[in-house]
Symmetry: C2
């Protein structure tokens, strides 16, 4: 039996939707069926700018996409402040939901989105693409290896990029009423996710934000840092910023091994992705060199990571649609933990003190 | 005129002295003239174990080395708690001083050592070898480049190694009466130095230690972490530990560039050392890959970094001895700043609160 093709609608002609519409085209089990924007003109321009096939329907509103019975799933790249309204409505219209990060302004909002998804039996997944790169599974193998990596002790994660003056004046990520979580919601989301990934999704007990975030004149975070502490003594630190050169680091240090990569969110090249590991590293007799030397692992990427994401999501949707499966809880669970930590970091920044994590 | 050869004595048959005695042999302007230990037997064994030339004098006490008029300079690898006594005495005996790190238990002690050096006109240098690797000067060029690197925004440094059970039971670095600063004094010294190096030796305004150091049963630090904040918003974090796999990272992020290396203290191999840089990094049009890609720089190491250290130190000693130069203040100034920050981190750990840095 041929693989069922999941029909996607996109609501919002955001820049990121260019990349995801290509991913929908590349994924073997997905197809782009509709694009909706606030005006027909905007939607048409987006479709022609991105070379959409003529059979992609063009809608002048988000509602029209959600009302189209020939759409199985929607990709929602709208500003964060609009997620609650449109994600809930999408779920109510029985559309499976691929939602851009940060998924909500806080976990209370996200829980409403999740409730709507659960009540309507639709799959939820957030748009954190690197999770789906084949490299990520290989890294997980290493981090799970009790001999080669051992017990996790420390993680450091960085995501920064040097936003230009236009971004810093006009991007939705610097507007309190749009992506009000700023660099924390955008770049920090990835750092927090990578830390949770390394910690096998065990939540930290406490977060301690550095007391010197950089804010713009409207109070939106442009740069901040934080430490996370676990009950067992594990520690993590991250730094996220719109104000320094593009950097995407994850370092995870265990009792027996170390993992390094410097392009965790978007691999340097699309066709393959690398990571470096050391295990049981030591020195030569005079302590003038390492042995063993670190190993570099190259993982071929048959499809771009965002196409892997669409494929995985579409597979889950197909299982629900054809086989009556329940939505996979793994993805919303990881999303919720990310948002929980993000909320705690925001609270620690706002209050200027450590914040204990609840569930 | 042939280069004057500086005659070294070593006081203390420490393990690290094996590497430094080889460096003295390799440096073209230095020679090993004497080794002194607490007993003649220990000194003789160290000399024969390390294949010392028969003309290296063997002494059964530290004093005998300091009293030998044919010794210009001493290398002191004794436990930190003995530094004050022996470094001051060495200076008083007009011996130039190459002192292992951490140089003292606190900056007040170190100031007494410095006063003795200044009063007696002897050169001071600490034993932080990586500072002298030719790679370090190349990294400084990059970090000083206003176009390629820009203004420093964030630094992360890690030095950890997995100490074995013998180390954790018996090494001087886990004994409160010997190297009482534990992992902070040993591994943390390097992290702090690398952060100051990246910050062009500008002292941070405040240090905030993570509130969960791991201590042994005698209260010695086995693992800890800290954040450092500067007046201008720069931030740095470090993690130092005896309890996880060997890791030696420095990441420095500027407005325009990023520097990475993972073997900053002891290069992977002795003959060359690498670092990676990115400048003005961005993405391709669809944000599916980086451009430009990072560059890897390989710096050949004509002499091991510790021999570079001995050569630089011996050069300064020769200038004093032959040309009546004043001791070079650059090295003790950097040392003192490192100790100042280390003291502040220790105070922050002890008090469980942020500590403002004085001068």
């Amino acid at each position: 039996m041929a693989d069922t093709i999941i029909r996607f609608g996109i609501i919002g002609a955001a820049d990121i939707a260019r990349k995801v519409s290509r991913a929908i085209a590349l994924a073997p089990n997905a197809t782009l069926s509709a694009i909706g924007s606030r005006s027909l003109e905007k939607a048409s321009k987006f479709a022609s700018d991105n070379g959409f096939s003529p059979h992609v329907k063009i809608y002048g509103s988000y509602e029209a996409v959600l009302d189209d019975p020939e759409i199985d799933a929607v990709y929602v790249p709208l500003p964060t402040s609009l997620h609650l309204r449109w994600a809930v409505l999408a779920a109510e219209k029985k559309k499976h939901l691929l939602l851009e990060k940060p998924v909500a302004l806080n976990v209370a909002e996200f829980d409403k989105i999740l409730e709507a998804c659960e009540a309507n039996g639709v799959q939820f997944m957030d748009g954190t693409m690197w999770m789906h790169n084949p490299r990520t599974a290989k890294m997980k193998e290493f981090l799970s290896d009790a001999d080669k990596f051992g017990q996790l002790k420390a993680v450091n994660s960085v995501f920064s990029f040097a936003a230009d003056s236009d971004f810093l004046a006009n991007d939705i990520r610097v507007k309190p009423d749009l992506d009000g979580l700023g660099a924390l919601g955008d770049a920090g989301w990835y750092c927090i996710r990578s830390i949770l990934f390394a910690a096998n999704y065990e939540l930290p007990k406490r977060v301690i934000a550095l007391p010197n975030p950089v804010l713009n004149e409207l109070g939106v975070i442009l740069s901040c840092g934080c430490s996370l502490l676990w009950e067992d003594g594990k520690v993590a630190t991250f730094h996220c910023s719109f104000l320094s050169n593009l950097t995407m680091d994850v370092t995870a240090i265990g009792t027996n091994g170390t993992l390094h990569l410097n392009d965790f969110i978007i691999p340097y090249v699309e066709k393959e992705a690398y990571f470096s590991t050391c295990s049981k590293s030591g020195f030569n007799d005079l302590v003038t060199g390492w042995q063993p030397l670190p190993s570099k692992h190259i993982v071929p990427t048959d499809l771009p990571q965002e196409a892997h994401m669409v494929r995985e999501f579409s597979h889950l949707v197909k299982e629900i649609k054809l086989n009556g499966s329940k939505p996979e809880k793994k993805w919303p669970t990881i999303t919720r933990k990310t948002q929980l930590v993000l909320d705690a970091v925001k609270a620690s920044l706002d209050r200027g003190e450590p914040v204990e994590l609840g569930q």
